[in-house]
């Protein structure tokens, strides 16, 4: 009997198999079983690993396939694609500048509006609200995140666009008169346009940013806040001077996460943007974004036009990837705090 089999039989503590003539057979079976288990374990591990690698494969696949699909435009006319603002399928001109401009402007408006509101809600939920109110209100704000983007789009088009059209003349007459920023608010009161799209996007990303800010604020050690309160600080001073500096990285990460969401959002902006390939100073003018250009034109496009739209998709992927990468790197700090708690 091999030594390691005896050792195994001893280790398994089976007195019966050691005692009689069945010892050899028993340990043999045990040995076989442990070999089988090891084999199954290895297969199982490999299968799970394969599934986990599929996650990596789908991210790489999304990048490579859009690069491949857009190669006719991306590789043959890189500079023209990236620097031209002309987009005309009839004459075969494909410049990405207008959609890139629209994407950046709407996302920046969204971020500018969503950041203070999210901060306000997180401040309310962690410092002001009575304990019994915090759970339900946080749940309701989270519900805002679960509403599908197409519903935001419909609400934007049928309800919010008429509302914006009714207040835009007032905007033009007040903010539009200001010396420097005035040009931003001058234009036809269509209701459709970059500003409207930015506001709808802001509503969409508020719950995401709020959730991260709230989690970050809750990760601040209680003794820090209590010390500040004990020194006579007001709630606002505690948040502004203690909580915010302590959670700065996670808060910025949350803002970047919201920005990443806003950059890639399609349905909510497609309806309210007006779809025009124009670059101008006015936020009230219609525009286009990368995602809405793809959604609007893809199914009618052929040849180079389709290739150009896929190339736009690649551009969007790269931009959002960089933004989300920054967001996740900054949020790692929050995750570490979470583990330490």
């Amino acid at each position: 009997m091999p030594a390691h089999a005896t050792a195994h039989a001893l280790a398994s503590g089976s007195d019966r198999s050691r005692a009689d003539g069945q010892a050899a057979a028993g340990s043999h079976a045990a040995q076989q079983r442990s070999r089988r288990d090891a084999r199954h374990d290895a297969w199982f591990r490999l299968a799970l690993q394969g599934c986990a690698l599929l996650v990596l494969a789908s991210l790489l696949g999304a990048a490579l396939s859009t690069l491949w699909g857009g190669r006719q435009i991306l590789l043959h006319d890189t500079m023209g694609f990236l620097t031209s603002s002309q987009w005309n399928p009839v004459t075969g001109q494909y410049g990405a500048l207008a959609p890139v401009f629209g994407t950046l402007v709407t996302s920046c408006i969204a971020l500018l509006l969503a950041a203070p509101v999210s901060f306000g809600i997180a401040f309310f939920l962690t410092e002001i609200a009575p304990a019994w109110l915090r759970g339900p209100v946080a749940g309701a704000i989270e519900l805002l995140a679960s509403i599908p983007s197409i519903i935001y789009g419909m609400w934007g088009l049928f309800v919010f666009v008429p509302f914006m059209a009714s207040i835009e003349p007032t905007l033009s007459n007040t903010l539009g008169r200001l010396p420097v920023v005035g040009t931003l608010f001058q234009g036809p009161p269509l209701g459709l346009g970059l500003l409207t799209a930015g506001v709808v996007l802001a509503v969409m990303i508020v719950p995401f940013i709020t959730a991260i800010m709230r989690e970050a604020f809750q990760s601040v050690p209680l003794r820090l806040k209590e010390s500040a309160h004990a020194l006579g600080s007001t709630s606002w001073e505690v948040v502004w001077n203690i909580v915010l500096p302590y959670t700065r990285q996670a808060v910025v990460g949350g803002l970047f996460l919201g920005l990443g969401r806003a950059l890639g959002e399609t349905m909510a902006v497609t309806f309210v943007l007006g779809n025009s390939y124009a670059i101008g100073y006015s936020l009230l003018m219609p525009g286009t974004t990368i995602s809405s250009a793809i959604a609007n034109e893809f199914n009618e496009a052929v040849g180079n036009h389709r290739s150009a739209l896929i190339a736009l998709g690649f551009l969007l992927f790269v931009v959002t990837f960089v933004v989300l990468l920054c967001a996740r790197l900054m949020l790692r700090q929050l995750a570490k705090h979470g583990d330490a708690r």
């Binding site: 591990r45 599934c51 410092e127 309701a140 679960s146 197409i150 609400w155 606002w236 996460l257 309806f271």
Partner: protein
């Protein structure tokens, strides 16, 4: 002097509290506004015809084929991404925790979680729709299967993350006790850990389903849409979000009403799913206390 400073600090504090309250009120107001608009406008087109007529006869006001298509594609997507997602989550938690590969995969998964869905739609178009078109010879073959694959790619990271988190919450004594009995690790994972975390994992799957139910952009270039009833996954397939998108873009106000009814159906489904997940989490939390 001192009282003036105190008064100013007090005022600033009250101002900040007031603004915080306003921000919260604004958020809640928007939620109620959007839900109310969906409810009131959708309810007017709600009726039995919504579930019996197909979109080919738009004037009849039916969405039957879109509802069936959405159900088929969502369930097909879930059947694809749930097993893979649970397996990948189990790998991250049980085999790759604190390894370099595990860190990278978690990072990639988090990025995929908020990657633009329209790019995933383009990915499926290039990788599934174009090769299938070449196989079928010429015509672009959009299919329900391609739509389901696109949706599965969106649901996958949600399930991976929730499974990973739920498994990591389990006490390590559970693993040690099982392994000390001489039970192989794969049995530990399948029979002990996944079972112990089953309600948390189910929550993740339901959350993924809630996310899929409203996805529009990835379906535009994969399942495309179909005005007739189709249950063949290799054929073009209608779905609620895409039909809503088409009807909203149409000039006819009657179609807008039907679109609102479809929007109401999706919203109700999503709200029911998120309530269900909260109930599961709540029950789970109480049982643990």
């Amino acid at each position: 002097m001192n009282t003036a400073l105190q008064w100013r600090r007090h005022l600033l504090d009250q101002l900040a509290r007031g603004l915080g309250l306003c921000a919260t009120a604004l958020g809640l107001l928007l939620l109620v506004w959007i839900l109310w608009v969906t409810l009131s406008r959708g309810a007017s087109a709600l009726g039995p015809r919504l579930f019996t007529q197909i979109t080919a006869h738009a004037e009849q006001g039916g969405l039957a084929n879109a509802i069936v298509g959405s159900l088929i594609m969502n369930l097909l997507a879930l059947a694809m991404c749930a097993p893979v997602g649970v397996a990948a989550g189990a790998y991250l938690s049980e085999y790759a925790d604190r390894t370099r590969l595990g860190t990278v995969l978690r990072f990639v998964n988090d990025i995929l979680l908020s990657a633009p869905s329209i790019v995933l739609g383009l990915f499926v178009y290039v990788v599934v729709v174009l090769p299938m078109s070449r196989l079928s010879g010429g015509s672009v073959s959009f299919s329900g299967l391609a739509g389901a694959i696109a949706l599965a790619l969106i649901g996958l990271p949600v399930i991976v993350r929730s499974t990973d988190e739920m498994l990591r919450l389990l006490p390590s004594t559970l693993r040690e006790a099982t392994l000390a009995l001489g039970i192989p690790q794969w049995k530990l994972v399948v029979h002990v850990l996944l079972r112990a975390a089953s309600s948390g994992i189910a929550t993740g799957v339901l959350l993924a389903l809630a996310r899929l139910a409203g996805e529009t952009a990835p379906l535009l270039f994969s399942a495309f849409g179909n005005n007739f009833m189709s249950i063949d996954p290799l054929d073009k397939m209608a779905s609620l979000p895409v039909t809503i998108y088409q009807y909203t873009n149409a000039p006819d106000p009657r179609l807008h009403t039907i679109a609102w009814a479809g929007a109401l159906l999706i919203t109700l489904a999503v709200l029911a799913l998120s309530l269900l997940t909260r109930l599961i989490v709540h029950r789970h939390a109480i049982r643990h206390d």
